[in-house]
């Protein structure tokens, strides 16, 4: 893995990327803790290990771009700059949450930020992304839509329908496949006849690329920038497959009996946060003290978020019937 640094980025931005990845990590570690305490219920799908993908892809986006994603959505939300406390409050089911406590972990929304939802039916978010991009093109806007999907989604019909439509109509969608090797507990090789997934894009005449170094935030960012430029130039959709790894189970309920520790350990060595901080240190772009300060700052932010979530009220019973219709 490269030890050089993307020199086009100012130091402050490099540190921001590191901080965001650390924020995602701590947000989720503490979420898991509060899941154990019973403050968070339902499913909690952690993104730990995949932080370089969210930050690498989302950091170069414009404010008017939109994001649609799947149920493992905390990392994308925080990378987009959604309010940490409101995200935590959503996990706690509080009325101050990003979705008013009605969506939970799998359904974060922030329309102001162009974050058009975590969607929990596998593949269901893809046509939605196509429709948002359709509106962009119809209106002559040059913003784009990033649609995150997992490797499990590509065997759904909606994947193929959406790729075909986006290609047929030349729509500005970045299909961003986070290939973490497993659809829940089923390995890609046991689910996909074509395990080199990005090749499926050929079927729909969609330009594609597989980024092997998905734990390297710079590599992800470079690949995303290429895709973004291609789309903004009016070439239609792009399919970017990023190879990454889910350090934790599918959800908190997952005993992870389908993979061996000897498989996991090499991936743990490729911790995207450690890789980035080591490279920043090796290139004299930061110091151990500065990293400690970031850690402290992140810890404070997450603590405040938890405090906010704990102190926030639950939705009132009359909110049960609000927001069904506009």
């Amino acid at each position: 893995m490269s030890t050089s640094i993307d020199s086009t980025l100012p130091r402050s931005e490099l540190l921001t990327m590191l901080r965001t990845m650390k924020l995602i990590r701590r947000f989720e570690e503490r979420s898991a803790e509060h899941y154990g305490r019973g403050n968070i219920g339902g499913f909690l799908h952690l993104y730990i290990g995949e932080e370089a993908v969210a930050v690498g892809v989302i950091s170069p986006l414009r404010d008017d771009d939109k994001i649609v994603t799947h149920y493992r959505d905390h990392g994308h939300a925080l990378a987009r700059g959604m309010d940490t406390a409101a995200c935590m409050a959503e996990l706690f089911g509080k009325s101050t949450g990003v979705s008013g406590g009605k969506g939970g972990s799998m359904h974060f929304f922030d329309v102001e930020k162009g974050f058009m939802g975590g969607h929990a039916i596998v593949g269901g978010q893809l046509p939605l992304a196509v429709g948002l991009a359709f509106a962009n093109r119809y209106r002559g806007e040059d913003s784009l839509v990033v649609c995150f999907l997992g490797d499990g989604a590509v065997n759904e019909g909606e994947f193929h329908e959406s790729m075909n439509l986006a290609s047929l109509w030349n729509l500005p969608v970045l299909f961003l496949l986070e290939n973490n090797g497993f659809g829940m507990g089923t390995r890609v090789e046991r689910a996909s006849a074509q395990p080199v997934i990005h090749r499926l894009a050929d079927r729909h005449n969609v330009r594609s690329h597989r980024e092997e170094n998905g734990q390297d935030v710079f590599a992800v960012r470079e690949a995303a920038l290429d895709a973004i430029e291609y789309i903004r130039d009016g070439n239609g959709p792009y399919f970017l497959e990023v190879m990454t790894y889910r350090f934790r189970g599918h959800s908190m309920a997952d005993p992870i009996e389908y993979r061996q520790q000897h498989e996991v350990e090499p991936w743990l060595e490729l911790d995207p946060i450690k890789l980035l901080s080591d490279r920043l240190l090796a290139n004299d772009l930061t110091t151990a003290d500065e990293i400690n300060a970031i850690d402290e700052d992140v810890e404070n932010e997450v603590n405040e978020a938890i405090q906010f979530a704990l102190e926030s009220p639950f939705p009132k019973p009359d909110e049960l019937y609000s927001d069904i219709y506009a």
Binding site: G97, V98, S99, G100, G101, K102, G103, H107, F109, D110, V111, M116, G117, H119, I121, G124, L126, P127, L128, A129, V130, G131, L132, A133, F134, A135, N136, Y138, G157, E158, E161, S162, N164, L165, L168, S322, D323, I324, Y325, A326
Partner: protein, 323 residues
Amino acid sequence: MAQLTYRDAIRAGLEEALRSNPEVFIMGEDVGAYGGSYAVTKGFMEEYGEERIIDTPIAESGFVGTGIGAAIAGMSPIVEIMTINFSLLAMDQIVHIAAKARYMSGGQISVPIVIRTVSGGGNMLAATHSQSLEGWYARVPGLKVVTPSNAADALGLLRSAVADPNPVMFVEHSLLYGSRSEVPDEHYTIPFGSARVARSGADVSIIAYLRRVPISLQAAELLEDDGIDAEVIDLRTLLPLDTQTFIDSVHKTNRAVVVEETWEFGGFAGEVIAQINEKAFDSLDGPALRVGGANVPTPYSRPLELLTIPTPEMVADKVRSLF
């Protein structure tokens, strides 16, 4: 007043929408070059252009979801699903995204889409092309389900559908397109949740929607020979459901028969009867009854198919059993 067909009334409503708002577009299978499989959008592509009258691949989930996405972006899509049978392929998008995005986002999102589709049997199209599934969608909070039985209602309800900021399933019946009725010349709309007394009567309330309304009106005529004065209520929309109109009617007539085309078992008529039991039980002189379709996959062969769909005679017989 002009005599319009159901088809032309819907065409008029669509054209009005296309002319009044450049962000209205029509999308669906064969809506453009072919002109729509029921010729509702014939000539539209030439008139409004391919950018707004959009032929799609056969990919119901894909293009319905695309419409939903465009609606979430603030546009006003009118998406046509060729028949309600094919809507099952788009049910994930309709039920999981269109109906729930507003609620799950804590009210941040609205989904102003109109999904037009065609229901009903009686065309010898066998089991996969003859279903009436609108009652399924009427069980989903977040959707609205509209079921016009005649041209005037179709236009008035379509205007309301286009103006509504919520996802609306606008369900047409394949055997109504050629039916004619008086349509007012002046602009009017019909609000959702307002049932119509299609025929006033004193002795029994026949409650129906879509094509079972004209069938029920024919039944009412048959019943005149028995000295039974039937009232016919057209629900017009299943969700929201106007319960007050049929409850008032049952208070007056003391008898109720609910008619629908779909399978009788577990149908929407059961919901109407439950409402009557809850709100008008003391007014009933006998059980609230229903007439639905046979609980079978629709057969192709004509004599068999005819046994599956409620006829005026079947409705009249059911009413007679209450006297």
